[in-house]
Symmetry: C2
Protein backbone atom coordinates (compact mmCIF):
# COMPACT_ATOMS: atom_id res chain seq x y z
CA UNK A 1 0.00 0.00 0.00
CA UNK A 2 2.87 2.36 0.72
CA UNK A 3 4.89 1.42 -2.32
CA UNK A 4 5.88 4.35 -4.48
CA UNK A 5 4.57 4.74 -7.98
CA UNK A 6 6.47 3.00 -10.70
CA UNK A 7 5.58 5.83 -13.08
CA UNK A 8 8.31 8.30 -13.98
CA UNK A 9 5.78 11.15 -13.79
CA UNK A 10 5.27 12.77 -10.42
CA UNK A 11 1.99 11.80 -8.83
CA UNK A 12 -0.83 14.25 -9.39
CA UNK A 13 -1.75 16.02 -6.18
CA UNK A 14 -5.24 17.25 -5.40
CA UNK A 15 -3.84 20.77 -5.08
CA UNK A 16 -2.00 20.46 -8.37
CA UNK A 17 -5.17 19.38 -10.16
CA UNK A 18 -7.10 22.22 -8.53
CA UNK A 19 -4.47 24.70 -9.79
CA UNK A 20 -4.66 23.21 -13.28
CA UNK A 21 -8.44 23.56 -13.36
CA UNK A 22 -8.21 27.08 -11.94
CA UNK A 23 -5.87 28.14 -14.71
CA UNK A 24 -8.00 26.45 -17.34
CA UNK A 25 -11.49 27.58 -16.34
CA UNK A 26 -11.69 30.01 -13.42
CA UNK A 27 -12.21 33.16 -15.46
CA UNK A 28 -15.10 31.65 -17.40
CA UNK A 29 -16.63 30.01 -14.33
CA UNK A 30 -16.61 33.23 -12.33
CA UNK A 31 -18.29 34.99 -15.26
CA UNK A 32 -20.93 32.21 -15.48
CA UNK A 33 -21.51 32.12 -11.74
CA UNK A 34 -22.04 29.28 -9.30
CA UNK A 35 -25.60 28.43 -10.36
CA UNK A 36 -24.79 27.99 -14.02
CA UNK A 37 -21.58 26.13 -13.26
CA UNK A 38 -23.44 23.82 -10.89
CA UNK A 39 -25.82 22.98 -13.74
CA UNK A 40 -22.87 21.76 -15.80
CA UNK A 41 -21.75 19.64 -12.84
CA UNK A 42 -25.22 18.11 -12.73
CA UNK A 43 -25.10 17.31 -16.42
CA UNK A 44 -21.81 15.51 -15.90
CA UNK A 45 -23.23 13.64 -12.90
CA UNK A 46 -26.02 12.43 -15.18
CA UNK A 47 -23.52 11.29 -17.78
CA UNK A 48 -21.60 9.46 -15.05
CA UNK A 49 -24.78 7.69 -13.98
CA UNK A 50 -25.46 6.65 -17.57
CA UNK A 51 -21.91 5.35 -17.99
CA UNK A 52 -22.20 3.34 -14.78
CA UNK A 53 -25.30 1.70 -16.24
CA UNK A 54 -24.04 0.90 -19.69
CA UNK A 55 -20.66 2.48 -20.42
CA UNK A 56 -17.29 0.91 -21.02
CA UNK A 57 -14.59 1.20 -18.39
CA UNK A 58 -12.92 3.90 -20.52
CA UNK A 59 -16.17 5.89 -20.79
CA UNK A 60 -16.70 5.60 -17.05
CA UNK A 61 -13.16 6.89 -16.40
CA UNK A 62 -13.79 9.92 -18.64
CA UNK A 63 -17.05 10.72 -16.83
CA UNK A 64 -15.41 10.46 -13.42
CA UNK A 65 -12.75 12.90 -14.68
CA UNK A 66 -15.43 15.34 -15.86
CA UNK A 67 -17.36 15.24 -12.58
CA UNK A 68 -14.14 15.75 -10.63
CA UNK A 69 -13.17 18.68 -12.89
CA UNK A 70 -16.55 20.43 -12.50
CA UNK A 71 -16.58 19.82 -8.77
CA UNK A 72 -13.08 21.28 -8.59
CA UNK A 73 -13.94 24.32 -10.66
CA UNK A 74 -16.85 25.17 -8.34
CA UNK A 75 -14.50 24.78 -5.37
CA UNK A 76 -12.25 27.31 -7.09
CA UNK A 77 -15.11 29.77 -7.54
CA UNK A 78 -15.89 29.72 -3.81
CA UNK A 79 -12.21 29.49 -2.84
CA UNK A 80 -12.36 26.10 -1.14
CA UNK A 81 -9.05 24.21 -0.87
CA UNK A 82 -10.07 20.64 -1.72
CA UNK A 83 -6.92 19.00 -0.33
CA UNK A 84 -7.31 20.81 2.99
CA UNK A 85 -11.02 19.98 3.05
CA UNK A 86 -10.55 16.23 2.59
CA UNK A 87 -7.64 16.14 5.02
CA UNK A 88 -9.79 17.80 7.64
CA UNK A 89 -12.84 15.57 7.06
CA UNK A 90 -11.23 12.18 6.24
CA UNK A 91 -7.56 12.49 7.27
CA UNK A 92 -8.12 11.07 10.75
CA UNK A 93 -10.42 8.21 9.72
CA UNK A 94 -14.10 7.84 8.90
CA UNK A 95 -15.92 10.98 10.09
CA UNK A 96 -18.76 8.74 11.28
CA UNK A 97 -16.93 6.19 13.46
CA UNK A 98 -13.43 7.61 13.58
CA UNK A 99 -11.85 4.36 12.40
CA UNK A 100 -9.56 3.90 9.42
CA UNK A 101 -11.75 1.03 8.20
CA UNK A 102 -15.30 2.24 8.63
CA UNK A 103 -17.45 0.34 11.11
CA UNK A 104 -20.48 2.61 10.99
CA UNK A 105 -23.85 0.91 11.06
CA UNK A 106 -24.79 -0.30 7.58
CA UNK A 107 -27.88 1.87 7.56
CA UNK A 108 -25.77 4.93 8.30
CA UNK A 109 -24.35 7.21 5.69
CA UNK A 110 -20.76 6.01 5.26
CA UNK B 1 2.44 28.40 -9.22
CA UNK B 2 5.14 25.77 -9.08
CA UNK B 3 6.30 26.67 -5.60
CA UNK B 4 6.32 23.78 -3.19
CA UNK B 5 3.99 23.63 -0.25
CA UNK B 6 5.14 25.34 2.90
CA UNK B 7 3.46 22.60 4.91
CA UNK B 8 5.64 19.96 6.50
CA UNK B 9 3.11 17.29 5.49
CA UNK B 10 3.51 15.74 2.06
CA UNK B 11 0.90 16.94 -0.41
CA UNK B 12 -2.11 14.69 -0.74
CA UNK B 13 -2.17 12.96 -4.09
CA UNK B 14 -5.34 11.94 -5.88
CA UNK B 15 -4.14 8.34 -5.80
CA UNK B 16 -3.32 8.57 -2.11
CA UNK B 17 -6.80 9.86 -1.33
CA UNK B 18 -8.35 7.13 -3.47
CA UNK B 19 -6.35 4.50 -1.52
CA UNK B 20 -7.46 6.03 1.77
CA UNK B 21 -11.12 5.92 0.75
CA UNK B 22 -10.70 2.38 -0.58
CA UNK B 23 -9.34 1.20 2.74
CA UNK B 24 -12.04 3.05 4.65
CA UNK B 25 -15.16 2.13 2.66
CA UNK B 26 -14.65 -0.31 -0.20
CA UNK B 27 -15.94 -3.40 1.57
CA UNK B 28 -19.18 -1.68 2.60
CA UNK B 29 -19.63 0.02 -0.77
CA UNK B 30 -19.24 -3.22 -2.70
CA UNK B 31 -21.80 -4.85 -0.41
CA UNK B 32 -24.20 -1.91 -0.92
CA UNK B 33 -23.67 -1.83 -4.67
CA UNK B 34 -23.28 1.02 -7.16
CA UNK B 35 -26.92 2.12 -7.17
CA UNK B 36 -27.19 2.55 -3.43
CA UNK B 37 -23.79 4.18 -3.21
CA UNK B 38 -24.72 6.60 -5.99
CA UNK B 39 -27.77 7.60 -3.96
CA UNK B 40 -25.47 8.66 -1.11
CA UNK B 41 -23.40 10.67 -3.59
CA UNK B 42 -26.59 12.41 -4.70
CA UNK B 43 -27.51 13.25 -1.12
CA UNK B 44 -24.12 14.82 -0.65
CA UNK B 45 -24.47 16.75 -3.91
CA UNK B 46 -27.73 18.15 -2.54
CA UNK B 47 -26.03 19.16 0.69
CA UNK B 48 -23.28 20.83 -1.34
CA UNK B 49 -25.89 22.79 -3.28
CA UNK B 50 -27.52 23.92 -0.03
CA UNK B 51 -24.18 24.98 1.43
CA UNK B 52 -23.38 26.98 -1.71
CA UNK B 53 -26.66 28.83 -1.21
CA UNK B 54 -26.41 29.57 2.47
CA UNK B 55 -23.50 27.78 4.13
CA UNK B 56 -20.36 29.13 5.70
CA UNK B 57 -17.03 28.66 3.97
CA UNK B 58 -16.23 25.88 6.46
CA UNK B 59 -19.52 24.09 5.76
CA UNK B 60 -18.92 24.39 2.03
CA UNK B 61 -15.45 22.88 2.43
CA UNK B 62 -16.89 19.92 4.36
CA UNK B 63 -19.53 19.31 1.68
CA UNK B 64 -16.95 19.42 -1.11
CA UNK B 65 -14.93 16.85 0.85
CA UNK B 66 -17.98 14.59 1.17
CA UNK B 67 -18.86 14.77 -2.53
CA UNK B 68 -15.26 14.05 -3.44
CA UNK B 69 -15.18 11.09 -1.04
CA UNK B 70 -18.40 9.55 -2.40
CA UNK B 71 -17.30 10.11 -5.99
CA UNK B 72 -14.01 8.43 -5.14
CA UNK B 73 -15.62 5.47 -3.45
CA UNK B 74 -17.78 4.79 -6.53
CA UNK B 75 -14.64 5.01 -8.68
CA UNK B 76 -13.16 2.35 -6.40
CA UNK B 77 -16.17 0.09 -6.83
CA UNK B 78 -15.84 0.16 -10.63
CA UNK B 79 -12.02 0.13 -10.47
CA UNK B 80 -11.45 3.52 -12.12
CA UNK B 81 -8.10 5.18 -11.39
CA UNK B 82 -9.09 8.83 -10.84
CA UNK B 83 -5.60 10.24 -11.24
CA UNK B 84 -5.10 8.45 -14.54
CA UNK B 85 -8.58 9.49 -15.67
CA UNK B 86 -8.03 13.22 -15.06
CA UNK B 87 -4.53 13.11 -16.54
CA UNK B 88 -5.93 11.57 -19.69
CA UNK B 89 -8.86 13.98 -20.00
CA UNK B 90 -7.35 17.26 -18.72
CA UNK B 91 -3.58 16.72 -18.63
CA UNK B 92 -3.00 18.13 -22.11
CA UNK B 93 -5.32 21.14 -21.77
CA UNK B 94 -9.04 21.75 -22.06
CA UNK B 95 -10.63 18.72 -23.76
CA UNK B 96 -12.86 21.13 -25.71
CA UNK B 97 -10.32 23.55 -27.22
CA UNK B 98 -7.02 21.90 -26.35
CA UNK B 99 -5.65 25.04 -24.71
CA UNK B 100 -4.30 25.39 -21.19
CA UNK B 101 -6.56 28.40 -20.63
CA UNK B 102 -9.91 27.41 -22.08
CA UNK B 103 -11.12 29.43 -25.06
CA UNK B 104 -14.18 27.36 -25.86
CA UNK B 105 -17.27 29.26 -26.89
CA UNK B 106 -19.10 30.56 -23.82
CA UNK B 107 -22.20 28.60 -24.75
CA UNK B 108 -20.16 25.41 -24.85
CA UNK B 109 -19.72 23.06 -21.96
CA UNK B 110 -16.35 24.04 -20.45
Amino acid sequence: MDSTSTSARPELTISGFQRLIREMYLEKDIARGIDGTFMWLMEEVGELAASLREGTHEEQAAEFADVLAWLTTIANVVDVDLAAAVRKKYGAGCPGCGQLVCHCDDAGKP
